[in-house]
């Protein structure tokens, strides 16, 4: 079975199982509640005593923040699973075997390292683009649309809390789960195969003519040039960019969102955003470099360019916050 199918099956199985289980439990709960009388209080759902993070908020604000807690836990669990499975995909024996089959003639540890990195750079684009986009849209869905927005917007909560109370926890969840998943994948690599990256020193010393026509040397050169910290940093900045784009789009004024031309422009932007992650064949290299998009093994973009997507994302989120304050019809 190909490594891709195994990874995708592993990634999809728990959420699907979770959804089925939730459906069964939800039906049972509804059945149990239907038999309950109206007379008892509407369940003992008083808010728990505030912990360290929530102490500074009043009762109403905590009610709003805690309402999102369950959703956030589900998002964190799903993201952690998706990130970890996908980042570890290159560690599957079939993935490593594929590296050798594709003509990479390194040693055993080099094959493992190559497989691990190529999985993260070339196969995880969906992970870094789609998931943060959906997470961003989901985070602000109930405050950025006309009908679902009405309930929270007519409760006694400040507009800034309405927005930041959704955005900051979601953003923190995405970034934290990404970092945890990256560390887990490195830990798993170490546990399963040992410190394979140490063998790169040997590769560097045996590499006679970097950049020559020799295909094996080229692959080895690319492997040596690849920067692991920047791969992960690029994953973080891409996630941040996807998240902030979705949040800003959701917070556009209703009058603007109703314009059909905007729908077309957003679709084009989304397609462009997606294709830029797939391969440098689709996105101009300069564009990818400026946005710190690092999707192929080889020389990394300079660290300073990581500031570009970070600044763009910050600007987009701040703009969305402003729009959220004015989100009225």
């Amino acid at each position: 079975m190909s490594a891709f199918i195994i990874v995708e099956a592993l990634a999809a199985a728990p959420p699907i199982t979770g959804i089925i289980l939730y459906g069964i439990l939800h039906k049972r709960r509804i059945a149990a509640e239907t038999t309950r009388d109206v007379e008892p209080p509407f369940a003992s759902v008083d808010l728990p005593a505030p912990g360290f993070l929530l102490r500074r908020f009043n009762h109403e604000e905590r009610a709003y923040l805690l309402r999102y807690k369950t959703g956030l836990i589900v998002v964190i669990a799903m993201m952690l699973w998706f990130f970890t499975v996908n980042l570890c995909g290159g560690l599957l024996p079939s993935s490593i075997a594929d590296v050798a089959k594709d003509g990479f003639a390194g040693s055993g540890p080099q094959n493992i390292w190559y497989s691990y990195l190529s999985q993260i750079t070339t196969s995880c684009f969906i992970l870094f683009s789609m998931f943060p986009l959906f997470a961003g849209a989901a985070a602000v869905a109930d405050i950025g649309m006309i009908d679902p927005a009405r309930f929270p917007r007519t409760r006694p909560i400040s507009r800034s809390l309405l927005f930041w109370g959704r955005v900051l926890p979601s953003l923190a969840a995405i970034l934290t789960t990404f970092v945890i998943a990256a560390l887990l994948s490195l830990l798993l690599l170490r546990i399963c195969y040992g410190p394979v990256y140490n063998h790169l020193q040997n590769a560097a010393s045996t590499l006679s003519h970097p950049g020559s026509a020799d295909g094996d040397s080229d692959d080895l050169t690319l492997l040596l040039q690849t920067s692991v910290p920047r791969i992960f940093l690029s994953g973080i900045t891409r996630s941040l960019l996807g998240f902030s784009l979705a949040v800003a789009a959701m917070m556009l004024p209703f009058q603007v969102k109703r314009q059909p031309i905007l729908g077309v422009l957003m679709m084009l932007g989304f397609m462009g955003y997606q294709t830029s992650f797939i391969s440098s064949n689709f996105a101009p290299p300069a564009f990818a470099r400026i946005l710190f998009i690092y999707t192929e093994m080889g020389p990394p973009p300079p660290y300073v360019f990581a500031l570009v997507p970070i600044l763009i994302s910050t600007a987009l989120i701040l703009l969305a916050g402003k729009l959220s304050n004015r989100l009225q019809t």
Binding site: V38, P41, V45, P148, R150, P156, T329
Partner: protein
């Protein structure tokens, strides 16, 4: 001193730009006394919901001023203080995709100082609201009941109900009106409701505002309004066709019918002193007053357009 739950002054709200601009509310000045049951009446697209949305901080006035308990509901932090004191039932009753039980449990936490479980149970029981039906499966009537239960149990100082009778059957409607009068006006609390259902409003409201095309046509205590409007059927010669107290005049073959909008007794005495005979003097129902006012306003508007053309 008379205090007001809602006050607007020359309030304007426009949507769109250029030739597509719509003036939803047009220089509205409204006074909703605290402790009253105020019925805001108007035809479709007369600006009722827009006015309510501005009172709830969901829409920003283009110009003019709106105050709720003398606070500005448009911007924080005053907006938060307003929302702490207001229970709201929106026009389409779309709130959160939860079962009524979950919705009530959720809403309770936003109003810890005023919420009453007892009142929530009472409303649920009297309106026969199914508590555990999922939101998607709730009928329109049950969505309305759900929104009402939530807003009423808040025991807010002000209850804003936008078309609160949507989808309710006659029994539920009757129960709702009783609940509003019995349980929602205690301690000087105010009910501000908009509706097309004039008969129901007439049963419970003590103050009325009639809105048409974003403008207020009439406002005041219902009893005063009822006593100042009268339909007079008169015979005689040299009868006036217009005047300050005449809202409309209808010439018939053998008589003239007037709808009088202020001081009908004085008007009748004046006609009698000029030799006219008052054949009939009948009070108008709220529905008749509403229709007469809207038609007259429409006629004036058309005449003004013709003059301009």
């Amino acid at each position: 001193m008379k205090t007001f739950a809602i006050q607007t002054d020359s309030l304007v709200k426009t949507y769109g730009f250029g030739s597509k601009q719509i003036r939803a509310v047009d220089g509205l000045s409204l006074n909703v006394p605290e402790g009253s049951i105020y019925g805001l009446l108007g035809r479709n697209s007369s600006g009722k919901t827009t006015t309510i949305r501005m009172a709830m901080g969901l829409a920003r006035p283009t110009s003019g001023e709106i105050k709720v308990f003398d606070l500005n509901p448009t911007d924080d932090p005053e907006r938060i203080r307003v929302l702490r004191q207001v229970g709201y039932v929106p026009e389409d009753k779309m709130l959160v995709g939860l079962s009524p039980r979950r919705l009530l449990e959720l809403n309770r936490n936003f109003y810890p100082d005023t919420w009453s479980d007892e009142l929530a149970r009472k409303v649920v029981k009297r309106l026969e609201l199914p508590l555990d039906t999922t939101f998607m499966k709730l009928s329109l009537g049950n969505k309305t009941k759900s929104a009402l239960a939530m807003a009423i149990a808040q025991r807010s100082r002000l209850l804003i109900l936008d078309e609160p009778t949507t989808g309710l059957d006659p029994i539920a409607l009757d129960e709702l009106l009783r609940l509003l009068v019995e349980d929602c006006t205690a301690d000087g609390r105010t009910i501000f409701l908009s509706s097309h259902q004039l008969a129901e409003i007439e049963q419970i409201a003590d103050h009325i505002g009639i809105l048409d095309r974003g403008k207020i046509l009439l406002e005041g205590p219902l009893d005063d309004i009822r006593s100042s409007f009268r339909r007079l059927t008169v015979t005689g010669s040299a009868l006036p066709s217009n005047g300050p107290s005449i809202l409309s005049t209808k010439r018939q073959p053998h008589a003239t019918q007037y709808v009088i909008q202020r001081d009908p007794d004085a008007f009748a005495s004046k006609l009698a002193s000029n030799g006219a005979t008052i054949v009939e003097s009948a009070p108008l129902s709220l529905s008749e007053i509403f229709i007469e006012l809207c038609r007259t306003a429409e006629g004036r508007e058309e005449n003004a357009s013709e003059v301009l053309a």
